[in-house]
């Protein structure tokens, strides 16, 4: 055999081996390797024919065959890896699982919507530097009415149907008595927020004998009605949305003067008038006013020196508006099907 013959044979061998490799499956790859590169393989057979080659040319053939051997080995192992990965992947993918089955429930609980609403309100005011104070739920007539400038036998008392414990002792009808209790203990400046339960002798779709209020008040030198407007406007925007407008209109509470009802533009209809706002475009949300000098008189604050404002809101009403709940008794049934929605 001439050098040229061997060269051709080697090239032919490589081509043939690669062709076979192309068609190979995982199980016969080893056979291919043995067939071409094994001790008794075809490459060895070709090299045996080197006897006729001049000694000077032999290293050339050696290099040629080594190169081919290296290349083929790489291809073979590469093909083997490829086929192995492919078959493993096929095996993994063939696992019979149904991932549409539901995931494990975390089982998180739920805070009462009233609680969540209170917490939201309180958080806004604590960011405004108000401190939280809670007062007793069983109050005396003095704190609940008299010191708040509800004279005995005044029709204003009709606004708040009362549960009595005994003469002059009652379930507080609002959170306002806490004003008096704080003023008795603390000199201005005071800046307090009071969340809590209150009670009225009343029960229907929109009234519960027990409900929640949040009261707030600020007393210092130079506090004005303009400040009240500022704080409450900021609160309403934070609580219900930046785009809402507010409206203050005159009203009456014995313990504030001037007094105001605060309305916000209806979030449902943007003021156009709908069922939520009873066609008025406005939703009543807060009662407020400048603390009446008569209240200061009871706690010996000098009304010429100090002024202050107070405001209060019904939590149930806000929660009902916020979550579109139409029956107040749902809050106290505590049906899990209700609670789990919050």
């Amino acid at each position: 055999m001439s050098l040229e013959d061997i060269r051709n044979k080697l090239a032919e061998l490589e081509k043939q081996a690669l062709g076979e490799l192309e068609q190979a499956v995982k199980d016969n790859i080893e056979n291919i390797r043995v067939k071409y590169l094994g001790k008794k393989g075809e490459l060895t057979a070709i090299l045996r024919g080197m006897a006729d080659i001049a000694a000077a040319e032999r290293p050339l053939i050696g290099k040629l065959s080594n190169d081919i051997k290296t290349r083929l080995e790489e291809k073979i192992s590469g093909k083997f890896r490829e086929l192995k990965e492919k078959s493993e992947l096929t095996a993994l993918s063939n696992l019979q699982v149904d991932l549409t089955l539901p995931g494990d429930p975390v089982g998180f609980g739920h805070l009462h919507p009233i609680h969540q609403t209170i917490e939201e309100i309180v958080a806004i005011f604590t960011r405004l530097n108000f401190a939280v104070v809670e007062g007793p739920e069983i109050e005396t007539d003095y704190y609940n009415f008299e010191a708040l400038n509800f004279p005995p036998e005044h029709p204003a008392r009709d606004m708040q149907d009362t549960f009595f414990i005994e003469d002059k002792v009652l379930l507080r009808t609002h959170t306002s008595p806490v004003q008096v209790r704080v003023f008795e203990k603390q000199k201005p400046p005071v800046k307090i927020i009071v969340p809590g339960k209150v009670y009225r002798h009343d029960a229907d779709v929109s009234h519960s004998p027990m409900f929640h209020q949040v009261e707030g008040f600020l007393v210092d030198e130079g506090v004005t009605f303009a400040d009240l407007k500022g704080i409450l406007t900021a609160f309403i925007k934070e609580m219900f949305g930046e785009q809402l407008s507010t409206r203050f209109r005159p009203s009456f509470f014995p313990f504030t003067e001037p007094s105001a009802e605060v309305d916000m533009s209806c979030f449902a209809c943007k003021g156009a008038g709908c069922r939520v706002c009873k066609q008025s475009g406005w939703i009543e949300i807060l009662g407020a006013g400048m603390i009446d000098p008569a209240v200061f008189k009871h706690v010996k604050y000098d009304p010429e020196k100090y002024t202050g404002f107070a405001f209060g809101m019904g939590v149930e009403r806000i929660a009902m508006l916020k979550y579109a709940i139409d029956d107040i008794s749902l809050f106290y049934e505590n049906d899990l099907r209700f609670l789990k929605q919050f």
Binding site: G109, E153, D220, A226, P250, Y332
Partner: protein
Amino acid sequence: MKLSYKWLKEFIDTELSPKEIADKLTMGGIEVSAVINMDKGIRKVITAEIRDVQPHPNADKLTFCKVFNGQAEVDIVCGAKNIKPGDRVPLATVGAVLPGNKEINEAEIRGKKSYGMLCSERELGLSEEHAGIMILPQDTPLGLDINTVLELDDVILEAEPTPNRGDCLSVLGLAREIAAILNLKIKMPKIVLKETADKAEKFVTVEIKDENLCPRYAARFASNVKVKTSPLWMQNRLRNCGLRPINNIVDITNYVLLELGHPLHAFDSTTLQDAKIIVRTAREGEEIQTLDGQTRKLTKHMLVIADSKKPVALAGVMGGELTGVKENSTTVVLESAYFDPVSIRKTARSLGLSSDASYHFERGVDVDNQILALNRAAQMVQDLAEGAVAKGIIDTYPHKLKQPKITLRQDRINKILGVEITFAQSKKILKNLGFAYTENTSTESFHVLVPPWRHDIEREIDLIEEVARLNGYEEIPAALPKGRMVKVGGNRDWQMAQTIAQFLRAAGFAEIISYSFIGEKDYAKTGIDPAARDCIKIANPLTEDVSIMRTSLVCGLLNNLAWNINHGSTEVKIFEQGRVFLGRAQETYAREDRRLALAVSGHKLEPSWNRKAATADSYYLKGLAVGLLDILGIAEYKFQPSTNTIFHPALSLDLVLDGQVSGTLGRLSPRVAENYDFPQEVYLAEFDLEKILSLATTAKKFHSIPKFPGIRRDLALSLPIKVSHETVMNQLRRLADPLVREVALFDVYQGDKMEAGFKSYAYTFLYQAQDRTLQDEEVNKLHQELVRKVIAELGAKVR
């Protein structure tokens, strides 16, 4: 109160629409909750006269009528019995529309054609009256649209004055308010009386015995009175304002009340013994039968109008049945009085009898307006009841009521409001409100004389509010307080309560809020002895079931659990934070303690197809309690067997803090569970938050993490069943070498594989040194030593 727009326009000239007036009032402080168009959609209903009524030939209950509609006679089949020829009635013609879009068409009824329908009040949407056809007054013109005739073209404003504004409970009062807002003049009704020559005093005399409770009593007398139906215009006004027309005399007093806001009363003078009116307090036990037919027992605090013998009216609240004006009365005494608001309110409340009159008197009426109202009524008795009004007014007014005089400082106005209102602006507002004043321009202040109708104005601040509201709240800017920094404390407990709520929420609990009041029934069901506690009871509860202030949160929790299980929720994990009321205290009336309670029924974790579901048990609650104490930074606590009878005697524990029982957890006593018919096991806990929060802390201290690895060794012990884990742990801690950093139980076994009377507890020990890596040999030696001691001292066998 219902304000008629047409009536209002008799008092002020304005082109503003009802809606615009409503907005002005609302923004001025008198909320108008609704603007109601009286137009009920009635079309093609006209006035007509009955000409002939014959029985229907084919139906016993029907009649066949000829009705004249002003132009022609039409045939109408009718079912009502109250009509006769000559009656004027509303006729719904063919094509007419009645309220509710009901159309009237030509119809054949039992063989007779009917060209329309005669209407009852109910069919016209005026009232619930449907016993017969509505009969209109004889002088009603024929062929007119019923909307015009009944003034259904009016609009009613539903105004809701606040309790301090009794002066706004009338057309006049609201007109005055609108006039002040719009800068208008009021037109007062003109009164023309043709009095008879005889003086009123000749017919009746008045004596006030209690001048404090009745500062002024005015009366007029009229004879020759004919009691009959009121003219249509008056009926319309009353009906549109929600009152039912009765007869001309009653209607007149109601009309004047609506118009001028002063309650009047009319007596039949012949029923007054000795023609005397005596205003006095009742004698204890005296009785009167009031207009509503009820006999009322009186006390000596109640003011009455009496004749020489008996009470004839409950002053300012309600007239007497026997002395009121009847169909056949001819002589009438008209009363216009001023009564003390507090006394009226007390009487009305103690008798549970509230009337339009008492509602006005309680809120204060205008003592000057009293005479106007009396004259207005007298004129109407003259014009509408043919009455001959006697000369003069019997006016008893011993001491003129004084109106307050108040100083108003301009700088004070601006200091309170935070706005720059000028002296001139304030002045204009006072003037528009009809307040008399003198001004001091150098000090910028006013001396204001409050008019007698404004009982709400006694102090400077009351006047400041007037300036604020008439200047408009919208004119006040929104500012932010410039005030000093305030010390913020006291949020700690609030924050802790939130932490607890969030902890339980993360553990899968739903928060409930139950009523603070419970009933005897709850005590009976839970077995809590009400007598053992100093319970606080509500004197006027809604029902007996909600009549006691709760002394435990457990009742609410169990009721709620029952509710949820009965409504199909069998996996229940709920909690509540709230107060209990434990008898009398010092600073507050009751001792109000905060508590936390939780209940679980079903599984610890929500079961899933993918995990084994474990049922809740006492250990679950114990773990929660420990977790809670941990999150609140409380490291010192103890559990001990509980004797609380709400709980299962063997499956419950008390939590002890600071040597004090501060809560109980465990399984609900089966005996209590039976009372609630629970179909599944219930576990619950109640904790004293006062104690827990007093010990809670957010302070934390870091302990360095060990630098050298530790080695674990396990030990399974076979123990007599009565030996507790706690005992074993105490011993293990005592016996273990100081290099044991941690001992923990990791397995419990009790069953067939154990010798009878024995159980197996397996513990793991972590050996770890601060300064070096421990070697196996050293640990083995230490552990063998420990095992030897445990066997020797605990009497346990090693498995």
